[in-house]
Amino acid sequence: MSKTLLEAHDLHLSFRGVKALVGVSFSVSEGDLFAVIGPNGAGKTSLLNVLSGLYRPQQGRVVFLGEDLAGQSPQQRVRKGLGRTFQNLELFRGMTVLDNVKLGAELAVGGYTDLVPKAQIEWKIRHHAEEVLDYLHLSPYRHVPAGALPYGLQKRVEVARALAGRPKLLLLDEPMAGLSLEEKQDLARFLLDARREWGVTLVLVEHDLRAVLELSTGVLVMSYGEVLYQGAPAGVRENPRVAEAYLGRSA
């Protein structure tokens, strides 16, 4: 068994009576491609927001690398190696692709807040960013403002920016949503390559059941904030609760 990287214990989150998470527990091991799936409103994004520290759960713990993350701000968690991307693109739209990725790369190289740029660090950051751009075939667009790119490429830039920070674990919120089949395949390949090349563990929130089942090593199925199924992807389709909630009761 490989090392456990991320554990969630009995997470509860509600917004004024609307229960977003009800006792969610799971664990992700190093090297996993862990998929979180479920219909709309199942609490997938809420779960990611709890993991990355944007929401504070009313109950439960998140343990990353053996350390309880309670009370740690989103930016502290990111610096520990817990990166994420967003469902609705959160790029720095006015900045170029390169500047976006460079801000991501600062996480890996060591960000700094000096008033004046330092040539040596800037060089390292640039080098690092270019490597990721190259890897994701984004180099031709490096000087284009991120907001001016087509949607599929923006999605890829966001993944590049997150990968440039060399996270130990990357939370991806519906990276495939809205992409064409070809773009989905490309992105899936990039993610698998990144996992192999940099040893990034991936947690993927997805709507598209099929894409996920082919890729993942472990699956968590949610509905209305509850865990319906956790285990190997092969078992998802056979699970009666999943079939009922996700695929609809068969007539």
């Binding site: 930016q75 900045m95 008033l115």
Partner: protein, 304 residues
């Protein structure tokens, strides 16, 4: 037409405009970083001017102005911490109301602390030391420039330009732009967004202090008093003309409105008394009608 008079008017207009530019660029900085319209910006100015005045009771004016900057910065931080951060993520109207309320509260607080009378910068101080700003007034070929105008041009204008350059090239400028584009993403990059936002508020208060101190006559011409609040309203036309979210825009618009005011004072005021005060707002009306994103603002495409 008297050429010397035109040149003199132009310089005076630019000088006043430079002060508008400094204040407005601080105002726009806050808007960019936090999307909060700070309706208390005129009070920021007023407090900055009063702080300078109070310091000037003990120190020479130039030093007094410098010494007023750290407390002004802290004041900006406190406002952010106390009024703005608790309302983050709430309805925009809530934040707007908070800053309007803050403006009213600060009006009262300054009245309590400094009294209703107009102070005189450079009146007798505690130690009877010379403490006025060095007099930089000069006259060349019939063009006379007041000390205030020269100080504004040599101090305020470079300062505003420095902010523009720093925002574009400095590390902190990059972080600030990142936070202004998407705070969520900035957090996901490990950027300490709350601190960046706080610094933007502090800087805004510093800029307002420098602009306010000179508008209130740190280098001659009047003294701090509540009339500054009316003067401070000019920030809104300047910011709107500049595009509201563009710091370079605010600088250009500040200079432009300063020029317009000066020439209106020279040529139009005798025909239409009071027109000078109205002109900036007339310009804003036209801008909003024909170019709602101002001179340099982002063209925002909103999906409905």
């Amino acid at each position: 037409m008297d050429l010397a008079l035109v040149i003199q008017t132009a310089f005076n207009g630019l000088a006043n405009g430079a002060l508008y530019a400094v204040i407005a660029s601080g105002f726009v900085l806050v808007y960019r970083a936090t999307s909060v319209v700070n309706f208390a910006i005129a009070e920021f100015m007023l407090i900055g001017a009063y702080l300078t005045y109070t310091m000037s009771l003990f120190f020479p004016l130039l030093l007094a102005l410098l010494l007023a900057l750290p407390p002004a910065f802290i004041f900006g931080l406190l406002v952010e911490r106390g009024f703005v951060r608790p309302l983050l993520g709430r309805n925009v109207v809530a934040v707007v109301m908070a800053t309007i309320g803050l403006a009213a509260a600060l009006d009262g607080a300054t009245l309590l602390l400094w009294g209703p009378d107009q102070k005189a910068m450079g009146a007798a101080d505690v130690f009877q030391l010379p403490k006025e700003m060095p007099n930089l007034a000069f006259s060349l070929g019939g063009v006379f420039l007041s000390s205030k105008a020269v100080w504004s041009l040599v101090l305020a204008l470079p300062l505003a330009l420095l902010l523009v350059v720093a925002l574009k090239y400095s590390r902190y400028g990059v972080l600030l732009r990142a936070v202004s584009e998407s705070e969520t993403a900035a957090l996901a990059m490990g950027i300490n967004a709350p601190r960046v936002v706080a610094v933007a508020w502090g800087l805004s208060a510093v800029m307002a202090t420098i602009g306010g101190a000179f508008l209130a006559g740190a280098a001659g011409g009047g003294g701090p008093g509540h009339h500054l609040i009316l003067l401070g309203l000019i920030v809104f036309p300047v910011a709107i003309l500049g595009g509201f979210d563009s710091v370079p825009g605010a600088v250009v618009a500040g200079l432009f409105i300063g020029l317009i005011e000066a020439f209106s004072q020279l040529y139009l005021e005798s025909l239409l008394p009071g027109i000078t005060q109205a002109i900036p707002f007339l310009i804003v009306l036209l801008v909003l009608l024909f170019r709602p994103y101002g001179l340099f603002g982002q063209h925002r495409i909103e999906r409905v």
